[in-house]
């Protein structure tokens, strides 16, 4: 190890060291949590929770992850398949809009759907008042774990859609043609050839879905579904044992590391993934009589995942317009746009820097760089806790510096994935040529990697922008005095059960995020990048 490090220093030490230092700097909150844990010793709460509720919580977590994954797969994979391979009415439109549910934070999706489905919501009220159907036709208790998984699937399926869409459109035509010549039906082709080939890509998308489900707190609490993350907060908020919470968080982290590793292995074993085949789409596509079916496959996730909640929220916005404080709305919008864009710029620069150094030096040393992505798996409040332990005494908590630092830790992984796939696709001959022409690493970055990875950088910017815009727990606890954002305000009204009043703020989150996602889609069309390669 020592020797390797020494060798490396000789190559690009002026780049390697800062990047290692930066990685360590970004891991500090996790170290702080580990230290706090070692300092506090083994927590009794941990035993207590194991003896009482933790088993149930774990079962719930697995069940919820299962349902959420299943519905994300159904809503993500099938539309991706038909859009990649068939031409039908509305295909182009759906290809653009199926990203949009990402604009709606999952807890807002959950609150909104329960409002819509509730006894006093529009659907049940309509049936009660204007139809001869029996009064109790839809009078169910909809706050069930299955419904929650379904709703979270609606909010998260675009991760699966994106990765499978890219994978499907890149699968070589030879595979498809050979399969057809061998007499496989379309279904068999999909099931036997395309799915196995795309497994790594689909899993990459699913990986994000699992992370998001694991660290979800608002929606699960509302539904009364206790997951592992509920256990963390039961220990901290209810039993007042921070150390027990840290211990559980570390437990969660270990589990996520395993998943992370699994993801790596799956992706590593899939070299065919990068097949260049721009013509496939046209060749593989045929005019289909099944247009209606395909239309349904694509429209259901779009309508349920985006249109329905959007229109309900918009309805509430109009309903409460007269009592809306527009100067406040304006200030909060500015705050949200400021934090989202500033942190997104910082985050993509850091991601590019880390990945670039990884490229120009020995990769094996960069397990640290990979570990920095772990922040994505931790509940925001736990990252907040680590940072409070780290910085509070220096009066830094409550500055933008620390707030952005927390965003970097939480969302670095999001920025890395498109940039990484883009950088990896660039042939090393570019670097060689650059070096031969006498370019140092900085010029190499400036003249070659910055411009050729431009689209990936924009994509990363937008993804991070959207995530920070929706982010709640970190902003809540680490923000400066008198600083509110659209997300914090939405939460503050929603938690006080004033859903209609919160709607203007959630609407703006959706509006900005959706616009950004549409721009993203335009860019993807210009240059297909491989998500999470």
């Amino acid at each position: 190890m020592e020797i390797k490090l020494f060798n490396l220093k000789l190559v690009n030490k002026r780049w390697v060291f800062p990047s290692l230092l930066l990685s360590i700097f970004l891991l500090l909150p996790i170290f702080a949590l580990l230290l706090a844990f070692l300092d506090g010793g083994y927590s009794e709460t941990f035993n207590y929770l194991i003896d009482t509720v933790l088993f149930d919580y774990s079962i719930n977590t697995i069940y919820l992850v299962f349902i959420t994954c299943t519905s994300s797969l159904i809503f993500g994979v099938f539309p991706a398949w038909v859009i990649s391979n068939y031409s039908f009415f509305g295909r182009k439109f759906f290809d653009v809009v199926l990203y949009l549910p990402l604009a709606i934070p999952s807890y807002i999706m959950a609150f909104t759907y329960i409002e819509i489905l509730s006894y006093t919501g529009p659907i049940q009220s309509f049936f009660r008042k204007y139809t001869p159907f029996p009064k109790d036709l839809l009078n169910y208790d909809f706050m069930q774990i299955e419904v929650l998984g379904f709703i979270m699937g609606l909010a998260l399926f675009p991760y699966v859609y994106t990765s499978s869409r890219i994978s499907f459109s890149l699968i070589g035509s030879s595979y498809i043609n050979v399969s057809k010549n061998l007499g496989l039906s379309s279904f068999q082709l999909f099931y036997k050839i395309v799915l196995p080939l795309s497994r790594p890509a689909i899993f990459s998308g699913l990986f994000l879905v699992i992370m998001e489900t694991l660290n979800e707190y608002g929606a699960v609490k509302y539904f009364g579904v206790n997951t592992f993350t509920s256990g963390i907060f039961r220990s901290w908020f209810s039993l007042g044992d921070v150390n027990g919470a840290i211990q559980l968080a570390i437990f969660l982290l270990i589990f996520v590391c395993l998943l992370f590793y699994l993801d790596k292995i799956l992706v590593k074993n899939s070299k065919f993934y990068y097949s260049k085949n721009e013509d496939i789409l046209k060749e593989g596509m045929n005019k289909s009589k099944k247009t209606t079916l395909f239309f349904l496959i694509c429209s259901i996730p779009f309508i349920l995942g985006f249109l329905v909640p959007l229109f309900f929220i918009l309805g509430n916005v109009i309903f409460t317009l007269s009592e809306t404080d527009f100067s406040k709305v304006f200030t909060l919008t500015l705050n949200s746009v400021f934090t989202s864009s500033a942190s997104a710029i910082i985050i993509i620069l850091i991601a590019l820097f880390l990945l670039f150094v990884e490229r120009i030096s020995n990769k094996k040393l960069f397990f640290l760089g990979t570990v920095t992505s772990l922040g994505y798996a931790l509940p925001g409040a736990v990252i907040g806790l680590g940072i409070i332990h780290l910085f509070s005494y220096y009066s830094l908590v409550g500055t933008f510096f620390v707030l952005f630092y927390a965003y970097i830790i939480r969302f670095l992984a999001v920025a890395k994935s498109p940039i990484k796939s883009s950088i990896e696709k660039q042939p090393h001959s570019f670097d060689e040529t650059g070096k031969n022409l006498g370019l140092g690493p900085f010029k190499l970055l400036q003249y070659i990697h910055f411009p050729i990875n431009k689209y990936a950088l924009f994509a990363a910017f937008i993804l991070v922008f959207v995530d920070v815009m929706k982010e709640l727990p970190i902003t809540l606890i680490l923000r400066p005095f008198n600083f509110d954002t659209l997300a914090t305000q939405t939460y503050e009204f929603a938690v006080e059960e004033m859903i209609p009043t919160s709607s203007i703020y959630s609407f703006l989150i959706i509006l900005f995020s959706a616009t950004m996602l549409l721009i993203l889609k335009k860019m993807i069309d210009k240059q297909v990048y491989v998500s999470r390669g």
Partner: protein, 339 residues
Amino acid sequence: MKNFLFILFLCFCGCSPKNNNQEVNLYSQRHYSVDEMLYENFEKKTGIRVNVVKANADELIERLKNEGDQSPADLFITVDAGKLYKAREAKLLQKIINDSIENNIRNELKDPDGYWVPITYRARILVYSKERVQASELSTYEDLANPKWKNRILVRSSSNAYNQALMSSLVASLGVDKTTSWSDGIVSNFARDPKGSDRDQVRAIASGQGDIAIVNSYYLGILLSSENENDVEAGNSVNIFFPNQGEDQRGSHINVSAIGLTATAPNKNNAIRLIEYLTSEEAQSIYVNNSYEYPVNPNVLPSGIVQKWGSFKIDTLNLNSLGRYREDAIKIFDSTGWK
């Protein structure tokens, strides 16, 4: 690029709170429009700027603990006396000694130890279906464990702080054993697994999924004043019942929004002035007229809709018990399967 980073750095530094005499810094769990209104009024009257960070109480306690004597916070506001007890146990608070504040507060709501000052209070009471339940059938919280309520009781989950406070108050009054068997009884009477918000419990009564719910009167007020006529209808399908009102009974459970003065408050005088203002008749009237909370100042009456629910005897338990018995309460929830 370097210039850009430098400017960014300056921005960060510029945004951190500076100590000067004309401000007071709040860590608050409360986040209502009426609070903002009152802080603005205070600023206008005194020229003292009010800075607020709003977050979860336990997170703010963690921040206070780690900041130690470097903390910018002067005041810590919660919606649960239990959390102030927790802060005090962690030695984060100092006593508040001031006669005019003392005079602003109803005696039975005061912290006997003087570490916090209440600013409003709320009652956690029962609502029942007008159609299916007679008021005469109801009596006490304890009675909710009676098998006659099988499959009829609605309540939100035990991760909710209001439920935790209620359970703590029962532990304080009845002891762990009795409270455990009470919890056993009420859990077996649940109409469904605990979930949703307080408002959702009222809707569930309207829809016929259950007959009685434990809620904060506060949220019934929000439901009744909703612009959605269906919500108002749901709100009107229930009546309010204040439990434990009999002569030998302790009264209905309440909890306070309250302020603690931090041990290291850098702007102590301003902080005291703000507490004085928030408990004054003027501010108390603004509180009650813009929310459905009860005033702590004896000279101020609750708002119209709240008055209509009638006056009631409050449980005069030392509210520090809501923190002292919190752990017991959680363990009872978990051992009796109150999710």
